[in-house]
Symmetry: D2
Subunit: 338 residues, 4 copies
């Protein structure tokens, strides 16, 4: 860390802060500039030291030098992690495709969806059984009945099943039926839940919160990794900005940036990331071109009649067409859909 | 709702959408403009109808007219709600003051803080026992031991105790010791937790998520109210924007805007809302002037040594001075601190 | 427009507002819902009517139905516009490549850059002569001497020249040397300047302001088109959001969204849009995949020694490699670099 | 500046960067940490050095220590600047009130407005003659005729006149009639215009751009100060965020933050900052409480019939009531309206 002192900081304040740095077990190094003095604090601390130093007398700001995450860091593990579950693979040159309806609605819908997305090239089936809904008056999902239908669809098609888990109490139940546990954007910093899926032994798909920084996102992954579970996929699904022509703003530079910082695979969700089905195909293709290790796309037999998210769901022919374009672009950049 | 059709929508599409509206139990009313046709959908539905209509053929957009929240709405209950617990009161002309350290650290710290904030004029003591921390490597709180110290401080001072609850499993435990359950910003859309505090019978302080819209905020309150718990306070604690000179941007217009939409009291947290102790006093005073029904402020005997959030905590003299200024401004606009 | 009345609006207020609508030359149509009354205002007005109606008594909000731009609209001109100047072409299946240094620094630098970007496949040369700089203490550009060097580079290579114009006084001078006038992001709503380039007869590259909505962006284009100049290219160069790991957030969904709303070509600037040279190649490729009609990329013989923007400039081999990847992806989606 | 090297930076890269720092006339100081090496660059440079260093080999990031503005800085001039023109005063304990219509519409309107705002306690009259409008189809202002009416209103009432100037060509004309030249938010980074008003000898009211950082805002002021004009007032008028219930988000913490960084007076515009007349009174009062040195408020004889911005304008009784509340709050915090 670099402790930047105020311009008019006194010698006593500088000495006091150098002392504080040493009390934390760090080496302090005072550098006197023309206008200001800074204190370099040398050593490996990532707890609350920064916060603590910032409230010291005469301190203007504290600039961290070390990234606060460790296990997720590319510096710790330079080789990219590849996730593999049933036929689904993501990372290290393979682009894993997850697709299916927002919500599981009934057997016919989920089986038809599973068959269609498999035929088009997907290797994992998404479908919500426990649904986090902004309004208490909206459809909340089929719960365990939905999980059973997902397992049935897996049996029929061999697709891996990815579905959201919303609370610690449900982790065991969901893990019984699903192959990949999804942590939704609203729960990215629900730390008890992160710990619970970290202990589940299942692959985790962690969605970025709509106002999470990359550092907060990687620290949330760190909560899961820290429980001994190395199988985490990061999912960019759009952020909250002033833009209102899309439901969220999809910042694809997240993909190459995360690849630089972490070994974990990076998935993109162009359905939530745009909120309009007519934008999904182009953004799916662009995600692959940006280097995404996977896609998760909402697909519904009849989007107009979907119980949730119909406005951003593709129908079967649209999804098939989108995947064909994605496959061509993947090939153009030396990758393969999985 | 108003269903706006595309400019080139066909007669068949218009007829189809009018039909869809009717199938939802709403009356449809087709209005033909010079460039476009719109369909007014009349009736009281607040579930997923909007989403469903948006994916219809020929639809450009769907504009909702009814607010999706009900119980929280001022239209349903025009009189302001006043919260009362022990000596703490907020709403309807009274400005309730909650103050104390970010985290409970030990008996001496919490008792000293309780006495100091009470002497300055606060009627509730804040203090974290279960701490949601961005990093798994940061101090996570004293947990039940912290709760016991808070109860001890209440016994000593008579202050109401407000503390955060992070997961459904902890609701019972926290409710045993606390008077007011705080839902933190990261958990604003943790719906299972909202339901659990809705069933706890305790007063709830619901913090706005840093990227939550007002509508999402009120719908989160609706989850609590919907369980039969009318004692909800809304807390503005800053939003995520491009500004980086403050930790969050504190949008005080939330206060008069919420007063127009809901009967629930509106609290402001200038500590998290700015992230710098030197900005807290002016923003506390401004919050009162904007009409806030309460304040929650971080106060620590020695901010420099705080285990968390020291950079945004006031010391005792600063807090005392801030409350004196708040009291004068409250009086100037016809209100009273409580 | 739809005028939404407050829930408790009186009959007199409703009658008054219906009357106001008619006074504006619009047809009014009162629709009574269960909770609220709305007034549809039918006809073609795009001036200040909305603002005026919003301050009427008993009005909750006014919802516009018509887009406020006309000439830029795809509804007015369904076929995509293709821009052509010297060998540069953008739109309707052709992806035009503009590249070169942030600032013109000297003859050797600009001639070397021109030759290198041409060899790699660019058809237009970018280079700043008048530089808008955040600080008055930064390098402000070579001004007319820089323009002369750009013209010399065109003579040597045949590349079209694109350069920024910052004020109305300079339009004539810049137009004398340049083929494409760039309006920078800071000047997107400098209306006098928009009118001046609208009258210049030159192709205009209009950059989106970092907090401009799409509607504001298209209305800025409308200022240019409205002067009789149809040759406008829209350029997405990143928006201001809470993200700080990139200088701006590059929202590629702008590309397909604009293609739906307007016939004008859409260019992407991945250099300003990310602010880090290591992110530029992947985002250039992703832009092409998203459907961009062109790219503008900063390239410098020696980025480390650049007088401005070195941190986001590619060197010659990086640029060459990037264009090769772009060409492959363009081909994969049925397009061609120009 | 602190040059932070990548974890795996080589000795040659570190030596190269230390050399680069010295070539810039700065002293370099290499500090070796446990994971990384940083190079402190000591000396006073505020040009493009940071950008240049960031593209060096092995560099992770460059952290600036000095603020890039000088003349605006509180460190250079610790005493607050007070602006004085006719009866208007702002800064150093006095809160200057500017009020009037968005646009000058006709003699009767502007004279009535001037009398009313003066009677209520304002000392300056605002009114737009040259209007920057998002759409080319909206009312563009009365231009010189409007300026003449403003001068007439000053003659009648003694109020100082504040009005916007949109382009360099108009500076002379507007300066002939006005006492205070306003630079609108869209033009905050129109550098030619900043230089021109810097040379005009008039007091300047500089509005913050809706996505400008505080540093960019102060650097824009620096452009004016740098021309030798010390009479600059900074105006917070709201920023672009994801919030849509207000037109802009009004971040009042700007006021105490700017007071810490600069000696220039800080004005708040609650009309543009909220965009709804029903929010203006509370936010005006809150602005005074936050420490604002002045307010600029839109007031119209009949907001419903205003040619622009009626939805955010107060009528005369609302303005009078608002100022009375502001005066009480000012008194409560030891200040006086002017």
């Amino acid at each position: 860390m670099i402790v930047v002192m105020e311009k008019n900081a006194t010698e006593a304040q500088i000495a006091h802060m150098a002392q504080r740095v040493q009390e934390m077990g760090l080496k302090s190094h005072v550098i006197r500039g023309i206008e200001r003095t800074v204190i370099a604090a040398i050593g490996d601390k990532r707890g609350g030291e920064r916060e603590s130093l910032e409230s010291g007398p005469g301190v203007a700001e504290v600039v961290p030098i070390l990234a606060p995450y460790k296990v997720a860091s590319r510096e710790v593990k330079p080789d990219p992690t590849q996730i593999q579950v049933l036929g689904f693979r993501a990372g290290a040159g393979l682009v894993g495709i997850m697709a299916g309806p927002c919500s599981v609605e009934n057997e016919e819908q989920i089986i038809a969806s599973a068959r269609a997305v498999k035929a088009a090239g997907a290797t994992a089936l998404r479908g919500g059984a426990f649904k986090p809904r902004t309004s208490p008056y909206s459809f909340q999902g089929m719960k365990e009945d939905g999980l059973k239908l997902l397992a049935l669809a897996r049996q029929e098609t061999g697709l891996a099943v990815v579905t959201e888990v919303m609370s610690t109490e449900e982790v065991g139940l969901v893990a019984k039926y699903a192959d990949i546990l999804q942590i939704g954007a609203r729960n990215m910093q629900n730390y008890r839940l992160l710990e619970a899926v970290g202990n589940s032994g299942k692959v985790v798909l962690l969605k970025r919160g709509p106002s999470a920084t990359i550092e907060e996102f990687l620290l949330a992954a760190e909560y899961i990794l820290n429980e001994g579970n190395p199988n985490v996929m990061l999912c960019e699904r759009g952020i909250r900005t002033f833009e209102s022509h899309t439901r969220f703003t999809l910042p694809l530079a997240t993909v190459p940036f995360l690849h630089r910082k972490t070994h974990l695979p990076v998935i993109v969700d162009p359905s939530h990331g745009t909120g309009h089905s007519y934008l999904v195909p182009d953004m799916a293709v662009a995600s692959v071109a940006a280097g995404a290790d996977g896609l998760i796309i909402e697909v519904h037999p009849n989007p107009e009649k979907a119980l949730s998210d119909g406005y951003q769901s593709l129908d079967f022919p649209q999804f098939n067409d989108t995947l064909q374009r994605c496959a061509k672009v993947a090939q153009a950049i030396g990758k393969t859909l999985s």
